[in-house]
Symmetry: C2
Subunit: 323 residues, 2 copies
């Protein structure tokens, strides 16, 4: 193969991680820089390009690179821009794909948001290999999603489709979401949502719980998992109610695109059966009978440290020249 | 064009309507038979094939027919079967596409459910011409949907995707649905759902209403429309609450596939601004900001009498030989 590698760049609020990846999903060379260090996005791209050029040289030079894929908050596949991302220092609409390509010998760059990149990564290297219809749900600081239908990522008419963290799961008295609305799935199933559920449970219930020994303001789903392992009732109930909420929402997602699988990734996904059992229970209870038992619930098997770069890199295979 | 026509067959619970259609969406010859007359599906197909052969001969014979499209309850595009349709006399899984093709000189037959056929009809001949991403919502006895993404109908991994009438819009204390669950969109926005809302309003409220002069058990959305025209407060409120319910649901659909338009068809759609204004209001209020103002709300402009046959016929253009 003349150009056997791609580059994946995962831009997070804190770090930007990147690597050169081969067709089997092996990260050959990788590196990272701080995302928020530069007030001017051009300075950021300069530093990023220099660092990426290093790993590209290690892999044999830019002639070996088929394309670059970027996963970035609010990344738009159609425009190659990031637009008003809350966790990034640069405001407005930034033509990130173009800026990166220009600094790297015009290697084609494709860009999308992190959850879409994760979905493409699962389809290319992960548990969704060979699947044409699945939904990726990323359970992190927020709840993201990447929807694949007929083998293609769903971008919608504007490039922003697949915001399943923001479907309304509680119409009345729903929790306030960062998006300005109330009752979004993300307010219950994100890391902060789960921590909030924990604080609420600890406040309104009287049972003993090992969670009471922890600072309620810094509780994580890992803490709750550790407590659940010890059979802590409140911890188990937190996963159960969160899982039910997810399973109810998934039943509606299935009515939409009837996917072969829903793939979970992220911190909460590490809670294993504590979260998967209540999700499955609520899916089974709420799904329309024609879909009963048809959609698999899967966990990503990609190493968390690698998944973001792999996901972004997978997009590199389909990157086209910028104009 | 060697084969300039297609045949559309719309199988309803009462009548099966069919016609020969050209590439511009003109119905050249049409006819109908009773659906429920035959206890044996083979007898039904015999009568249907004979009647269709008549209109095909009028159009110049089967050599002129590129394909046959069938819209049928619970029709599965992948298998060409209808499966356990509640309103049809034949139970179990029936290979309808194959049966029809065999009786009609092996003309290729494609089959899907009626809402999907309606979506393809709008894309081929209607307001969605040229659109690659839209959602068709049919507001009839039930609430159906056909979802188009990237120019293709979404069938899902099993051929049954797009059951948006059965997303849960009220998690608590929702109305009982025919599907066995509670709170489905269909229980509020279907013809029977709207009539039920009318009966509830008339019972729990005291205002005068021209609707009180009618038999509550046979109220239709047409009756409510006629009352709304006369500025009847209860009638207006029925459309308002139904429209809000639809608009809230549409906001979630937009988060899924970010369509260019949502196209409405069916009885309730004829209520015009009485229903479109509250839908738009609730969409605007509930949609995630990134999608605000981007998705058009459109009404089908196809003549209701023709729409079902046109929709089914549009599928005929892509029908392939049965094996």
């Amino acid at each position: 193969m003349e150009k056997p590698y791609v580059v994946g760049i995962d831009m997070g609020g804190t770090n930007t991680v990147f690597g050169v990846v081969d067709a089997r999903g092996t990260i050959l060379h990788s590196g990272s820089i701080k995302t928020g260090k530069h007030a001017d996005v051009n300075d950021y791209v300069d530093e990023l390009a220099q660092a990426v050029r290093c790993v590209v040289e290690q892999a044999g030079g830019s002639g070996k690179i088929k394309g670059i894929g970027v996963g970035a908050p609010n990344g738009n596949y159609f425009s190659g821009c990031i637009e008003s991302a809350a966790n990034l220092p640069w405001k407005g609409r930034i033509p990130l794909a173009k800026l990166i390509s220009e600094k790297l010998e015009n290697i084609p760059v494709a860009l999308t948001n992190d959850a879409n990149a994760a979905a493409i990564g699962e389809m290319t290297y992960g548990v969704a290999r060979g699947m044409k219809d699945f939904i990726m749900i990323t359970l992190g600081t927020g709840v993201g999603s990447g929807i694949v239908i007929g083998g293609n990522l769903v971008y919608g008419h504007d490039g922003f489709a697949g915001e399943l963290g923001h479907v309304i799961v509680r119409r009345h008295n729903g929790r306030q979401c960062g998006c300005g609305r109330q009752g979004c799935l993300e307010t219950y199933a994100s890391a902060t949502g789960v921590a909030r559920t924990a604080r609420e449970y600890l406040e309104i219930r009287n049972e003993d719980s090992v969670l009471r020994d922890l600072d309620p303001d810094t509780l994580t789903s890992k803490d709750i998992y550790d407590a659940a392992i010890k059979n802590d009732k409140i911890a188990l109930d937190i996963f159960e109610s969160t899982g039910h909420m997810l399973g109810e929402a998934f039943a509606d997602f299935i009515a939409f695109s009837s996917p072969e699988a829903i793939v979970l990734f992220g911190g909460l996904a590490k809670a294993g059966k504590f979260i998967s059992e209540p999700i499955q229970e609520a899916m089974d209870k709420n799904v329309l009978s024609v879909f009963a038992g048809k959609t698999k619930l899967l966990f990503s098997q990609l190493k968390e440290a690698d998944a973001a770069v792999l996901g972004a890199s997978a997009l590199g295979w389909e990157a086209k020249e910028q104009n």
